[in-house]
């Protein structure tokens, strides 16, 4: 019985791992969703609705760095089909698209090193966010 449960769990785990590799849409959408969740917390700090928290800011920056590393592989050729806002322009300008993720990673790392308190946060966070707008301007469709 115990062995059967273990086998069952192994199958579920394998299916989960397969999902990430076989379903780039789900994987990249999960990344972006996580970005949004962490950025929401940062938004409240920018707005002044929440006190500055170095931990919150660093969590978000590390999340962006992870995105920058993983995301380029999650946009394989032909993955503009299905429930996605990814625009065909991505595959027309693949080099630019990937360079933008590289820049997001670099800017996030620079901000991670520079931000120590509220003042350095104000000065160094905005350049990171510009990467979000810049990419979504060209490569993400508006919601229908």
């Amino acid at each position: 019985m115990r062995r059967m449960v273990l086998a069952g769990l192994a199958i579920v785990a394998a299916a989960g791992a397969g999902l990430a590799a076989d379903d780039p849409l789900a994987a990249r959408q999960a990344l972006m969703k996580a970005n949004g969740k962490d950025t929401k917390a940062v938004f409240d700090i920018v707005k002044g609705a929440a006190p500055f928290s170095l931990e919150t800011v660093q969590t978000a920056l590390n999340q962006y760095i992870e995105t920058a590393e993983k995301a380029p592989a999650l946009f394989p050729e032909g993955s503009d089909k299905g429930k996605t806002q990814a625009l065909p322009a991505i595959w027309k300008n693949k080099a630019d698209f990937e360079a933008r993720f590289a820049k997001l990673g670099e800017d996030s790392k620079a901000a991670l090193a520079a931000i120590k308190d509220q003042a350095t946060f104000k000065a160094n966070y905005q350049p990171v966010l510009k990467n979000c707008n810049g990419c979504h301007e060209t490569y993400r469709a508006k919601e229908q």
Partner: protein
């Protein structure tokens, strides 16, 4: 035979009437006198970023090299923004302040031709004469650049430029520029920015089948002019979950309260607004939450 003659006379009369009705009018004399007073280029730079001139007339890399060229896809066909740099051949270097005001308030160029309302003069005409004069001073201070844009790719009948005159009769009242509104973080100033230079309604207000704005549905969200997606509802009902601070922060950093980023044409708007004094963006937020 007599019926045919009558019909021809009637058709000619109708064509004559349409021709007369579509004739570009002259610039309002009061506006002409006001805009001739020398403007302040430094103040004009703020107007330039509020009006988002660079978004269509320049590239993101060189936003003050106004060689034009950006293509705007419309339901009627593509149109390219012209060169508005001070180059005398390719740009508007040989225009006067009055020529410029005529374009801003009435959508008429130096040659006396109607401009298509892809150039958002239906909004820009809600700018004060002082702001237009300052904007002109700023444009004159920029470097001339070469470059001529292709003509509009509109199909019949929208390629008949003169017909824009009839469109104006349908949708534009005679121009009455507003008085200057004191720049402050007030709803009154926000209203001035939203309706005038900011030209928010050009994308956020629905249009009818002739491309005319529907004032009763102002700012309630609309299909984007290029046909890709929709602009959101930014009236009180659309912004019910947003407070002033949310709007101000979103416009300043390009992030929504949900942590999503503003994309599409709005990314450009955020870049432009980044050049404005902080109180301007706060004024826009205050006006939108004041509910018009």
């Amino acid at each position: 035979m007599r019926a045919l003659a009558a019909l021809i006379i009637l058709a000619l009369a109708a064509a004559g009437a349409a021709w007369r009705l579509s004739e570009p009018g002259p610039l309002d004399p009061a506006v002409a006198a006001g805009v001739d007073k020398p403007g302040d280029a430094k103040a004009g730079e703020i107007v330039f970023w509020t009006a988002g001139c660079a978004s269509c007339h320049a590239s993101a890399q060189a936003p003050t090299a106004l060689s034009g060229g950006a293509e705007l896809k419309t339901p009627f066909g593509p149109i390219h923004a012209p060169n508005i740099s001070p180059d005398p051949q390719d740009g508007i270097g040989n225009w006067s302040a009055q020529d410029f005001a005529h374009a801003i308030y009435d959508g008429v160029d130096k040659a006396g031709r109607h401009l298509y309302p892809a150039f958002p003069y239906p909004s820009y005409r809600n700018m004060s004469v002082a702001d237009v004069s300052d904007l002109w001073a700023f444009l004159r201070s920029l470097a001339p650049v070469k470059g001529v844009s292709p003509p509009p790719g509109f199909g019949f009948p929208f390629n008949i430029r003169r017909a824009v005159g009839l469109w104006k009769r349908l949708y534009l009242a005679p121009v009455t520029p507003p008085q200057s509104v004191a720049a402050a973080d007030t709803a009154a100033y926000g209203r001035y920015l939203v309706k005038g230079a900011g030209h928010c309604g050009e994308c956020h207000t629905p249009r009818d089948f002739l491309g005319g704005p529907e004032p009763s549905k102002a700012l309630s969200g609309a299909p984007m002019p290029d046909g890709k997606g929709k602009s959101p509802n930014i009236t009180l009902s659309g912004l019910a979950k947003w407070d002033e601070g949310d709007i101000e922060t979103a416009l300043a950093v390009g992030i929504t309260p949900d942590g999503d980023s503003l994309g599409g044409a709005m990314a450009e708007v955020v870049r432009n607004l980044g050049h404005l004094p902080k109180g301007h963006v706060a004024a826009i937020a205050r006006y939108l939450k004041a509910g018009g």
